[in-house]
Symmetry: C7
Subunit: 77 residues, 7 copies
């Protein structure tokens, strides 16, 4: 059975994800919520640029329309 796109988000709740944004920035953190616009809530998040952590953020709301992709991050990298 195929996977519906939002199922990926649902299965990732409370788990670490990688979020790539338009413009190249990336967040890693635990997915704490989402809505159908793919607005995302991440907690214990890190903002990453060129592979380096540039900021640690306790919790962050990312606007869905800036998201390129979201990927479950099972182990770490």
């Amino acid at each position: 059975m195929p996977t519906r796109p939002l199922d990926v988000l649902n299965r990732s709740l409370k788990s670490p994800v990688i979020v790539r944004l338009k413009g190249g920035r990336e967040f890693r953190g635990r997915l704490d919520g989402y809505d159908i616009h793919m607005n995302l809530v991440l907690v214990d998040a890190e903002e990453i640029q060129n592979g380096e952590v540039v900021r640690k953020i306790g919790s962050v709301l990312v606007r869905g329309d800036t998201v390129v992709f979201i990927s479950p991050a099972p182990g770490g990298d």
Copy 2:
């Protein structure tokens, strides 16, 4: 229970937040209001570029479609 994205805004009312805009600008200020488009009202705000305060603004209405992310700023940084 997962966090709905707009809950993050609701819980941040009257508290300091960091708002990143498309193009790299950033605002810090107290969140004084929002709507479902993520239009935001900030008071006692500072506009930041490359880590430096470039303007202090008593109150500002930021259009939601220019927002990349919003993060509660519990302590300061």
Copy 3:
């Protein structure tokens, strides 16, 4: 009580505001009207680039989708 974003516009009617546009331009002028798309009418307006007035405009209709932020300008700066 939180401030609804359009309230900021309503309270600024007939008062000076600063309007930042995508691409970096800025207008200053008295807010003479707006609609829910944040289309704005400014009168006695100045267009500003890199901090300098590049044009004086009696009245101007600014399309909402080019607006980044709007800020009441109580005293001047």
Copy 4:
């Protein structure tokens, strides 16, 4: 009483206006029509780049979503 944004267009019918487009181009001409998307009809128009007239156009339909601002041009400049 505040001015509704489309009122500015209505009052400018048959009068000269300046229209700034995204990307920096500008048209000057008489406003001969508009719709709620801010699609504009200009007649006796000039296209201007860097302050110089680059083309004279009898009549032109400008798509609203490329417009940054529209300003009545009472005298000339």
Copy 5:
């Protein structure tokens, strides 16, 4: 009486038009059809870049959302 923007298209049917696209390209050709999205059908068309014809195209469907302006081309230029 003001001219409705789509009237300009209707009056230009079967006549030569100039179509400027976002990014600077331009088409000239006879307007053979359009819809309310400003999707355009041109026949006997030429694609122009920097003032030079870079391609002749028997017929072409141009997406409305790439259009900047459309102008009747009564004589030629």
Copy 6:
């Protein structure tokens, strides 16, 4: 009688077309399907950059919102 834009697509079914994308890429191939968003299905397609074939693709689904224009390609060029 004017040509409706989607008629151009309908008449081009099973025939070779040229599809220009935003950003300058181009596809050539037989049009095998489309929908009202101008999402296109091409078969026996070639991706072209700067006039050279950079990839041959058996079949491809092109998102309508990346399309600039579509042109029937009667003979070849």
Copy 7:
């Protein structure tokens, strides 16, 4: 009979596809799901830049509005 664009996705379920994104990135992987916005779920995916694999990703949700094209990848390349 013409092929409806979403049919291409349906026929590609569980099969390898190439997905080109705006900005030039590319994913290869097995298509595990999609929706009408062309949001895509890929598994056993590789992110490719300039022809080189830059990251392996177990599963990824790609936002439809960043997609340029999707192509079944029957053999490999």
